[in-house]
Amino acid sequence: MTERHRLRSLWTLAFMNGVVPMRTQPLYLLSTIASPLSFLFVISVLSQGSPNHGAYILYAIVGGFVLTIMSVGTGLQTDLTHYKQDLKFQELVVASPVEAPTYIAGLALSEFIYAMPGLGVFVILWLLNFGVPNVESTLTLLGCLTLVWAFASALSFTLATYFADVRETFVFSPLISLGLTVLPPIYYSARILPSWAQPLVFLSPTTYAADLLHRAFGLDQLGPYLLPAWADWLALLAFAGALFALAAAKAQWRET
């Protein structure tokens, strides 16, 4: 298969699983932003009258970006399991010229595309509340979302190798969402956590993304454990790389 064929296959998968469902199942798009919009709503109501209301809204919008991309990234485990176990689509692809890396990259890209409308909602909210951000903040946002997407996709590929039934993914998705988006200091500053709990936040890769975004938008960061930006980037890359390596080691394109 030539590079041109590979790119064609990759884009076809991304289009098939990312663009077409937006047209044929538009309601499903709402599910990608249901949780982050709910958080925004609650934070907005509870912080009414507070002198820090603007900062809280910004936390909610930054959190919305991270939660949306995590939501679609981890949703990939459901697609992978469904396509393999229920539809046998993966079998059909294995016995074709499409190679495993193309399949993985195509489906991961499709999830990123599927997140676009949800991310767009938060971009609009951001512009309405805080105006046009500077270039550095915008690039930080794009870089963080890309790495969080890469990490979430790799996590999904790893988990999907263990699942024999799509219902198992329904159990793991909320747990992942809780562990990687709600508990880590994305919607709040780690400074308010008890001191014993503060080191634990570094177990979650989303902490580093949030730290970078909080820094870029002038929000309170990780308190006594303030990291340099390069360390945050390095940690995000390391998490994504390690999980991709794990997924590659676990994945079986041809079963044994």
Binding site: M16, L87, K88, E91, L92, P97, E99
Partner: protein, 314 residues
Amino acid sequence: MSAAIRTRGLEKVYRSQGHETRALAGVDLEVPSGAIYGLIGRNGAGKTTFIRITSTQLLPTAGEVTVLDHDALRDPRSVRSRIAVIPQESRPLYFLSVDELVYLYLKLRGMPSEEAHARTDRVLQELDLTSRRKLLVSRLSGGMRRRAMVAMVLASDAEVLYLDEPTTGLDPIARREVWAAIQRASREKRTVLLTTHYLDEAEALSARLALIENGRRLLEGSPAEIRSRIPRPFRVTVRGVLGRAELEPYGEVTTIEGGFLVFAREADARELTLMALQRGAPVAMAPASLEDVFLQMVGRPLDEGSESSGEASE
């Protein structure tokens, strides 16, 4: 005729939680290039495992597999660009329309847009799906979905098509349309490996057949050759005046509605037919169908005429 698919000593043992299941127990098979080849056998006989191994989805425990002169175990990439598969119990992506399903599958295989569009139009017409081309797959009946899956692989440029029960759930008319499309694929010199539970389908389509039982090849050959290799290759249906005791000397007698069905050797079948006609009993004589062969070989303990003892464990 050269072989498109060739296996030697193909074995597969599934191991799970300390339990072993032998799905294939040393299968030697040659699927001629450009022919429709039928694999028949009971559920769990090993047909799907055979398809999954030879289409590079599954590694065998032992044995050799060559597809289009490539070693499918060591060089699967060379094979994959030239094959297409409809997996058993597969379902199409429900959020696509029928034409998107076919077109995007072709694009996925790396086909240019123009050719993919032309092939999509052609196959939808062949399988009478044109009027439904813009319908979402989720809106189709089960049979229509299966037909859409068949359209995907038939539209491809693959030289070897693996169709694992392609007509399950189709009505008789739709089945005939799929048959016609499969036969067209064969006329284009493409090789088709077909599994089916419909023995009339296997007989109507296949140039050669293999009967798989307990992971072993029990019989192999053209439908006529297979029929000739069973001990009683003719069926005589007798209704009316004759009793069971009078029929038993001629062959194996089974009671049917209003009479008896006798499986017999050709000479015995002719003699029985003449005798029934002389007695004024309605009688019909015909070669055993593939279903009769299947029942004789598999539907009860194997006796003389089988190639193997069916020792493989399930």
